[in-house]
């Protein structure tokens, strides 16, 4: 557990206890969690610690992914505070390397070889370059992402942060926290930022 995770967990618990959130089916949820904790075995790189919720997961699991109140902003800020930037502080890398990374969906399953690098998984859920037609639709289309938004330093930073930790802006986002999870390094996220924002990237043609 990272410091951020522990902090999030500490913050989440009292807030939940004190909140007026109606826990529609807390009994069955409790039983579900007990059942899950009993029923799994480690395999490959997937150890049992993956079954534990961190603070963000805990609050999302208990609110149907729709938490409210001051705790949301606090936890989002906490997630943002954990973002790490490349050593040279440049946030736009090589869009071609980004495209390659975006294509790969490998990594972190018990059948994957442990260790890095893992894929960015981007096309699994997003439309990105118009050249790739086999894209998923779990997330929004990112076609023309930079063309529509520009590539100002602020936009670069937002995009970098969003990929590093999607929960910094939307606490219960469906999107993984690629940097926070240790899946992608800041230098790789930089390349993904370029894929989305570089005017030369096919995304913006």
């Amino acid at each position: 557990m990272t410091k951020t995770t522990i902090l999030a967990a500490l913050l989440a618990t009292p807030a939940l206890l004190g909140s007026s959130i109606v826990l529609a089916d807390a009994t069955h949820r409790t039983k579900a969690i007990e059942t899950i904790k009993r029923d799994f075995q480690p395999r490959g790189q997937a150890d049992l610690d993956r079954l534990a919720e961190d603070g963000v997961q805990a609050i999302c699991n208990r609110t149907g992914n729709n938490p409210s109140g001051d705790i949301v902003k606090t936890l989002e800020a906490d997630q943002l505070a954990g973002v790490k930037y490349p050593a040279d502080n440049k946030l736009m890398g090589d869009w071609k390397a980004g495209e390659k990374l975006a294509q790969s969906g490998r990594g972190f399953t018990w059948s994957d070889k442990p260790g890095l690098p893992v894929g960015g998984n981007c096309y699994n859920c997003h439309q990105i370059s118009p050249k790739e037609t086999a894209y998923g639709t779990v997330g929004p289309s990112l076609l023309h992402y930079g063309k529509l938004r520009g590539n100002t330093p602020e936009m670069q930073k937002y995009t970098f942060n969003k990929i590093f930790n999607s929960k910094a802006y939307n606490l219960c986002s469906d999107m993984p926290r690629f940097g926070h999870a240790g899946a992608l390094k800041p230098e790789q996220i930089k390349d993904l930022v370029a894929l989305l924002l570089d005017p030369e990237s096919p995304v913006n043609k």
Binding site: D25, H28, R29, K31, A32, I33, T35, I36, R38, D39, F40, Q41, P42, R43, A46, D47, L48, R50, L51, A52, E53, V56, Q57, C60, N61, G64, N65, G105, F108, T109, W110, S111, Y123, N124, C125, P130, T133, A134, Y135, G136, T137, V138, K167, D174, P176, R177, A181, G182, A183
Partner: protein
Amino acid sequence: MERSPPQQTLAGRLAILGTLGALAFSVSAVAQQELDHAKADAEFAKFRAEMEDSNPAELFELKGEELWKAKRGPKNVSLAESCDVGLGVGKLEGAYVINPRYYPDADKVMDVERRIVWCMTEKQGFKFGDIAKKPFASGNYTPEVTSLVTFVAGHSRNMKFAAPIKDPKVREVYEIGKEITAYRAGPYDFSCNTCHGSDGKRIRMQNLPNLSTPEGSLKGVMGWPGYRMTGGVMLTSQWRMNDCFRQQRFPEPKYVSDTVTALLTYMTVNANGYTYKGPGIKR
């Protein structure tokens, strides 16, 4: 033999080609991709229909029938004379579609695969550890349980799912299953519902059924046990749930555990009233 209509001059043909070209270009890129996806789905459906004339699942049903009828295990009894899969010992017609259900002798809600494993250990005397060592097919290996499940499932072809949700014990497991689908954890924060909780989503080209709807849950339980074109092996619902957790980046669910039964109960009950087509072919 082709005959040009008299009015179809060269100019006329060019005009038609031009119109077709304009039409093609007026189809937006997005619409074209949707057409491509629909076409791929349609082609697979056609392929599946052709294959089902000689359904490879039937081979495993035959193998399962032998295993079902043979006296086996340390206790040298057959499942046919000892195993109740929901309708009484040895009764198979329509049994698959009324599972998962509560079995008083085991004091558990069980899906068919779990029930067969229970019969093999309790009635025939096999060791659970041996059965659970390699529970799913790979390469040329097909577990006996897989063939047995396929055999039992084959006796519910074209019958309606009717998991007994009025039984409070089944209802309880259903509710737990529903909560399991919502549980987010792991390095990527995924729950079942991250991918299977809303309509019209895809991972790459693969359509994702929304398990909270009857039609979506039906897609989840329909076709299993299934002969999977990828790898050419016969696989069960237990395997399918196992592979979901793999992709969820979770550790592995223990074989025939409460967690898997709960998910199968959730989906089957949601699909109640819809017709089970029997063991089939999967992509």
